[in-house]
């Protein structure tokens, strides 16, 4: 077991009050798995990524256990955490330009990453060897002219190239867990397909565990083996990606899938979930999805369902009790 999360709760303490953004989350991920976290904006999916890599903003309060590679990261000091960042857990963000130093050449940044890995793993390497390894990694990402890209600054590269440089850094550091937070949202669909292919190959060839955070269910379907559907800070449904997409059990999942346009307008109206997601400051009592749910009955408005197990899946819905 690479990552084991038990009863994780996260609150944000703000001027407007203390509110819960993740409620009782349990998740086990094995080495080599490709898991996607799906949900609309402000559903808590990015917060989970930030908790695992300990990049939660200072207002965040956590309780529970996040055991990554045998250590509870929530109990580590900032100094100890810095030591495992990069080689144990690595995070890719939506805007790759923010992850690179704008005043350093690509080469210096990648060499630095390699030097950190080598020092943590006690590998001796000459500068020439290191350079060759960086060039090899860049070439394996199908970046044309790696030598030319090495001497560029991040702003001289296109969005897709910068994102690939960040993924190259992950390739050099060989993290046990890679968290990708909407890495392709700012990219064109053709470049997105290239990045997705790359992540899939990386997972297959190096057994790197990947958590992929996205709002695009189609993308999550193409990429992942397992899927978690987030709504209002709760994991509403969890299971094998193919099963969840082909046979969604939770009304929110089926609503979300039905609202993706797939056929032309003359074949009928698009299904849309009525209403809009609730604010964390005034969450409804009972099930958080009940006010928008077409199957909601009395119990849904009074009591919040906990995880209910059905056919290899965990669902937070009273329908399946």
């Amino acid at each position: 077991m690479l990552l084991s999360i038990k009863h994780l709760n996260v609150w944000y303490n703000t001027v407007a009050g203390k509110y819960k953004v993740i409620d009782d989350l349990n998740l086990d991920i094995d080495q080599g798995e490709l898991v996607s976290l799906v949900g609309e904006s402000a559903s808590g999916k990015s917060t989970l990524g930030q908790v695992i890599s300990r990049m939660l903003p200072p207002v965040g309060i956590t309780s529970g256990e996040v055991i990554l590679d045998g250590v509870d990261v929530l109990k580590l000091s900032e100094k100890e955490m810095t030591k495992i960042r990069g080689t144990t857990v690595f995070m890719i963000f939506q805007n790759p330009l923010n992850s690179l130093n704008p005043v350093k050449r690509v080469e210096d940044q990648l060499m630095e990453a390699l030097a950190i890995r080598n020092s943590r793993m006690n590998i001796q390497m000459t500068v020439e060897e290191a350079r060759n390894e960086v060039i090899k990694a860049l070439a394996s990402l199908r970046l044309p002219d790696p030598e030319k890209i090495m001497i560029r600054y991040p702003h001289e590269l296109s969005g897709g190239q910068v994102q690939r440089v960040v993924i190259c850094m992950a390739l050099l550091l060989r993290p046990k867990l890679l968290i990708a937070d909407e890495p392709t949202t700012a990219l064109d669909v053709t470049i997105q397909a290239q990045v997705v292919k790359l992540l899939k190959d990386l997972n297959k060839d190096t057994k790197m565990t990947i958590i992929f955070i996205t709002h695009d269910v189609g993308l999550a379907y193409v990429l992942s083996d397992r899927m978690l559907v987030f709504y209002a800070g709760r994991v509403m449904e969890q299971g094998q990606t193919v099963e969840v997409v082909k046979n969604p059990l939770h009304p929110y999942t089926s609503g979300l899938l039905a609202s993706i346009p797939s056929s032309p307008k003359h074949t009928g109206k698009l299904y849309s979930i009525p209403g809009s997601p609730p604010s964390y400051l005034s969450l409804p009592a009972g099930c958080k999805f009940a006010p928008r749910c077409r199957f909601a009955f009395e119990r849904c408005f009074q009591e919040e369902p906990s995880y209910i197990k059905k056919d290899n899946r965990l669902i937070r819905c009273w329908l399946y009790e």
């Binding site: 609309e40 669909v189 053709t190 193919v242 979300l256 609202s259 993706i260 698009l270 849309s272």
Partner: protein, 314 residues
């Protein structure tokens, strides 16, 4: 169905660098970004035209040229058979309108919803405002005195649509109207747009990078690549059996719920300053021929209202 708008060899070039007076004196050559290069299209009344393409393909520029927010460098525009000139702009702007991608930045944050919506009219007419706000699915009494920051993303986009509808435009350019919205809200806004279009008999130019959305809403599809139309035809035909190799590659990179795989094309979009010789897609094209590297293909007709710019179909 009559033609409502047509573009004839429209070009829009932007200067890539600022030119100071010294540059002009020593005659530094002008470098252009060719955002829109020789685009010709005829749009029939009452249809939804989906414009798809990657970023930098010129889709937003095309929309802006059509609503007269940008003046083309070269070429001619005809609106309802009448040539579009600078003197005609005020008249045309009464009949065309635009909805932008990010409603939060296209609405004045200091103004109340009722004032935003009434602004195109030039005077305050509460019953007209109320009618149009109800039409876009908002409760008038609830939102009329609010500012845009008090509303959710979907509501703000509805206000932007209401403002565009106020003048009862005949042509509405929608530039990525649902890209900033969540999937469940996107479906609500798309349904609204379809209803409004059939009710007001408007023509939509629907600009989007999302092929699935374009497939849902449009009757015709225009595929742009590096400032040029590569394929134009009825949605059902273009998206089910695309002719141009670029359209084929574009469709195979879209993640869908049918196939658990994507097939990305090789390479990147060319720079709009240094376009490749011949067909602009030739460095990435799997079917490239000798001719493609030398000559740029024109739009070749493939039956009624179907055109493709590729030497394969000569």
């Amino acid at each position: 169905m009559s033609e409502i708008y047509s573009l004839k060899n429209v070009k829009k070039y932007y200067l890539a660098q600022k030119r100071g007076i010294i540059d002009a004196i020593v005659k530094v050559p002008k470098i252009y970004v060719r955002a829109l290069d020789d685009v010709s299209i005829s749009i029939a009344d009452g249809n939804v035209i989906g414009v798809v393409g990657e970023s930098g393909s010129g889709k937003s520029t095309m929309g802006k040229v059509m609503v007269t927010l940008e003046t083309p460098t070269d070429g001619e525009l005809y609106f309802k058979g009448k040539k579009v000139t600078k003197a005609e702009y005020p008249n045309i702007r009464k009949q065309v309108d635009m909805v932008f991608q990010n409603p939060a930045t296209s609405l004045n944050p200091k103004m109340k919803v009722k004032d935003i919506v009434s602004e195109p009219l030039g005077h305050f007419d509460e019953s007209a405002i109320k009618e149009v706000i109800l039409k876009v699915g908002l409760a008038y009494d609830e939102v009329k005195d609010k500012q845009s920051r008090e509303l959710s993303g979907g509501q703000v986009q509805r206000v932007a649509i209401a403002r565009a509808l106020m003048k009862r435009p005949e042509l509405l350019v929608l530039d990525e109207p649902t890209s900033a919205l969540d999937e469940s809200i996107q479906a609500q806004v798309l349904n609204l747009l379809v209803d409004l279009q059939s009710e007001y008999k408007m023509t939509y130019i629907f600009i989007t990078h999302n092929i699935l959305v374009a497939k849902y809403i449009s009757d015709y599809i225009v595929v742009l690549y590096a400032g040029k139309i590569v394929e134009y035809g009825p949605t059902s035909e273009v998206l089910s059996k695309p002719l141009h190799p670029y359209t084929q590659l574009l469709l195979s990179s879209v993640p869908t719920l049918d196939v658990k795989d994507v097939k990305p094309p090789i390479g990147d979009v060319p720079s709009l300053i240094n376009l490749p010789q011949g067909c602009r897609f030739n460095p990435r094209c799997p079917f490239v021929m000798e001719k493609c590297r030398k000559e740029e293909p024109p739009l070749i007709s493939q039956g009624q209202n179907y055109q493709v710019a590729c030497w394969l179909y000569e």
